[in-house]
Symmetry: C2
């Protein structure tokens, strides 16, 4: 059956996100510099706190900010000042208020895809902040549905494919992370293309043996689908 | 047309929520007691911070916790210690981890309604935490849909009524707050019943001139619908 639905990830596929966390880590390290020795790895401490808190906080910047404050209190053994904690709070707020910066070619690519496929945006994280980012992106009305989910697992994709009323093989997910955007979609019989981002959060790094197409940039997708979308159809028809 | 869908609010309609915030305010006041004079109104300060942060944080306990820390730093003019801020962090975590406590008669009432109407749960707040509460409630499989939304306004209810494929007059919303559960539903031509909770967050208090049914407890709803659901139908058919 022909491809009918193209699903696009938001963070680090349509717009920059992980680079903002990297910038935040730099600020965080600067705030803690008076307490930390040379070579102190604040990012590793922060990641350990985030992992520990994930089942309480889920994904998103509010949980990230709470974990920063917790990490700061721990690694300074309570010597950090309230003024410095206030800096971390303000850092989290600045991240939430940050304008959405689309990746190169995204607006034109979404426009081109919208003329040929039904589009759905599938993005993970904080409902309130993701809704704001979708609105700020200016892309919202190109999508038939916006799906903001707490976890991108097989059950989530199964529900979305069912809501769109298509077979899994008519559903293509495009995103930057193998763990969230590729493997669970392949597992339910859907299709997936990875468009890697320059930075990947440790939590999203996985070992795997799956093979799937990888494109250098999202703007390569329409031409790639012209060539390869048809091949999928033929394989499916003969299989 | 007959009533087809009964939509139920979650927090303070199916399970306790606002009382946990009230308990948190007590702990918060105790942590700040060494800094605050007699009669210091910490709840008013906290509410002012929450209102200021609402457009960045949205609703939910993570934002509440960040606002507590901000309030604590402000009202102590930076004298609060890291150990005390850690107590506030732990308070927020305890709220997130708190078991779901159903209100009296809720399980039986939802069961009774599920046999006669299509049910949808419409709850506002943090996606991740609300999903956890729905799962912990044990009620999830009684609902045809779970709608976790960032704001309960007319646009939200219009979308939900449309997703359920019914006319607004076939849709009844039942919840504790007039502002979120009643007024926007009446505004789009739907029906609403209020079941007040013992505590209402200041943000949800509104002046209004609407008239609508008020029941003392959710368990009164099935019998009330037996008597009055039919009257709605008749009015609608003759109107």
């Amino acid at each position: 059956m022909p491809l009918a639905v193209v699903a696009l990830d938001g963070d680090d596929t349509l717009w920059h996100s992980e680079t903002h966390f990297a910038d935040a880590h730099d600020t965080f390290a600067r705030v803690l510099a008076p307490y930390a020795g040379d070579g102190f790895d604040i990012v590793a401490h922060q990641y350990a706190t985030e992992r520990r808190n994930l089942e309480l906080f889920g994904y998103g910047i509010k949980g990230f900010t709470l974990s920063m404050i917790e990490t700061a209190i721990e690694v300074t053994t309570g010597r950090i000042t309230a003024a410095e904690i206030r800096e971390l709070l303000d850092l989290g707020k600045a991240m939430l208020a940050h304008p959405v910066e689309l990746l190169p070619g995204v607006a034109e690519t979404v426009e081109a895809l919208a003329g040929r496929y039904r589009l759905v945006l599938v993005t993970k994280g904080d409902l309130f902040h993701q809704e704001q980012k979708v609105a700020r992106s200016g892309l919202a009305d190109r999508f038939e549905r916006i799906e903001i989910v707490s976890e991108k697992d097989e059950a989530t994709y199964r529900r979305i494919v069912s809501t769109m009323g298509v077979d899994p093989e008519q559903f293509l997910m495009v995103g930057n992370t193998v763990r969230s955007d590729v493997l669970p979609v392949l597992a339910i019989g859907g299709r997936a293309v990875q468009v890697p981002y320059s930075v990947t959060w440790d939590h999203e790094v996985v070992d795997h043996q799956a093979t799937f197409p990888v494109l250098e940039r999202l703007s390569d997708l329409p031409a790639w689908l012209d060539t390869n979308g048809g091949r999928w159809t033929t394989q499916s028809a003969s299989g």
